[in-house]
Point group: C2
C-alpha cells in the first residue's frame, strides 16, 4: 500500500490507521483555527480537516510529489447547537459532562483526503448520535477523576470508562473515537487508493 501523510497527532487516529494496515507518517500541522463567521457549526470539522491538509502541503519542499494527505477533525455538538472541543481543566470537563448527561448529542467527525495524482481534495463527514444516561454528581466526579477528559473532544473517551454511562450510539463508533472507518474506506476507494491488497 502507498504511504499516507496523516495531518493529525492524535494517537487514537494513528491506532485506527494501524488497525486498518494503512502505512502512514505523521506531520503535525500548524493550523490557524479561525472559523468563517457565518459557518454552520456542523461544517466546522470539514473546514478544519481541510485546513490541516493545506497546512501540511505548505510545509513540504516545493516540487516534492505528495501522493496522499489525510486530515481529520471532530466536534461534539449538544442539543442547543453548542460545540465542544477539548476541555482545558477539570472544571470545564465537569461542566461539559453535566451538559451531556441524560441527553443525546451529535459527534461530527470529518475527514479530508488530498489525492496528489488528481490534485484533488475529497471530504466526508460522519454524524453519530451519542446518548448519555442521566449521570449522578458522584458518577460525573468519578469520571472526571479518571483523567480521561485530557485531550478528549467533549470531555469523554467512548473507548474508555465513559462507555459505562453511554446508553446507546447511532452511527459510527470510530467516528466518535475520531476517525470514521467506513468513510475512510469509502473515500480511499473512490480516489483509487488500493486498500484491498
Amino acid at each position: 500500500m502507498e504511504p499516507i501523510i496523516l495531518a493529525s497527532s492524535s494517537p487514537r487516529r494513528q491506532d485506527i490507521l494501524k488497525e486498518l494496515g494503512i502505512p502512514f507518517q505523521v506531520i503535525m500541522p500548524q493550523v490557524d483555527e479561525t472559523i468563517p463567521e457565518n459557518m454552520a457549526v456542523e461544517n466546522v470539522p470539514e473546514f478544519l480537516a481541510s485546513q490541516k491538509v493545506e497546512a501540511v502541503m505548505k510545509t513540504l519542499p516545493q516540487g516534492q510529489i505528495i501522493p496522499w494527505i489525510l486530515g481529520a477533525d471532530t466536534l461534539v455538538i449538544d442539543q442547543d447547537n453548542k460545540a465542544y472541543g477539548k476541555p482545558e481543566n477539570q472544571e470545564e470537563a465537569t461542566k461539559i459532562l453535566k451538559k451531556l448527561s441524560g441527553k443525546t448529542h451529535k459527534v461530527v467527525s470529518s475527514i479530508a483526503l488530498f489525492n496528489g495524482k488528481l490534485n484533488y481534495l475529497a471530504t466526508r463527514t460522519n454524524i453519530t448520535l451519542v446518548t448519555f444516561k442521566n449521570m449522578s454528581n458522584e458518577e460525573i466526579t468519578w469520571l472526571v477523576n479518571t483523567g480521561e477528559w485530557h485531550g478528549a473532544t467533549g470531555a469523554y473517551r467512548i473507548q474508555g470508562k465513559a462507555s459505562m454511562f453511554i446508553e446507546k450510539i447511532e452511527g459510527s463508533y470510530s467516528g466518535v473515537v475520531g476517525l470514521p472507518i467506513f468513510e475512510i474506506y469509502d473515500i480511499l476507494n473512490e480516489q483509487g487508493y488500493k486498500i484491498l491488497v
Copy 2:
C-alpha cells in the same frame, strides 16, 4: 474492587473488563449448549450466559464462598430470524457474510451475574442493529482472507477490518464486541458491586 469470576475464555471480553479496571479470573465452563425446543432465538444468549455461570458454580469446591460470577453470550440474528454463531471454515464464513451484506442484522449480547451475597442471578440483554454496506464478492473474499472470521460470532469482528464495510450501528459497540459495557455497569451497580472506587 472485589474479584469477579469470568465464565468465558473470550480475549475480547477479558480486554473489556481490563479496560474497566475490574479484577477477574477466568474459569472456562463446560456447557451443554442444548437449547429448550421452543425458546425464541433472541432469548438464547441470556439462557446460555446463565448456563455458563451455573457450570462454573458446579466446578467450585463445596463450601467455597463465591462472591461474583459473570457469564456472557452473543448471537448474530439476520432479518430472516436465522442465528449465527462462529463459522467453522472459510466457506461458512463467506456464506454468512453474503447473507449479512447490504442488510441490517441484530447482535444479541447477554450477560448473567451471580451475586453470591444474595444467592441471586441477575441478567441483562443488549440488542444492537448493525448495517453492512452492499459488499462486492472481491470485498467479501478479501475480508474472509484476513482470517478475522476465526472465532468470531457472525464471521466478523467489528473491532477489526470488517468495520470498513459497516455503514452504521444502532445500540452498543461493546455489545457487538461481546460484552455490553453500559449493561455491565448497570447490573454491577444494581447488585451493590462497588465499581466507582
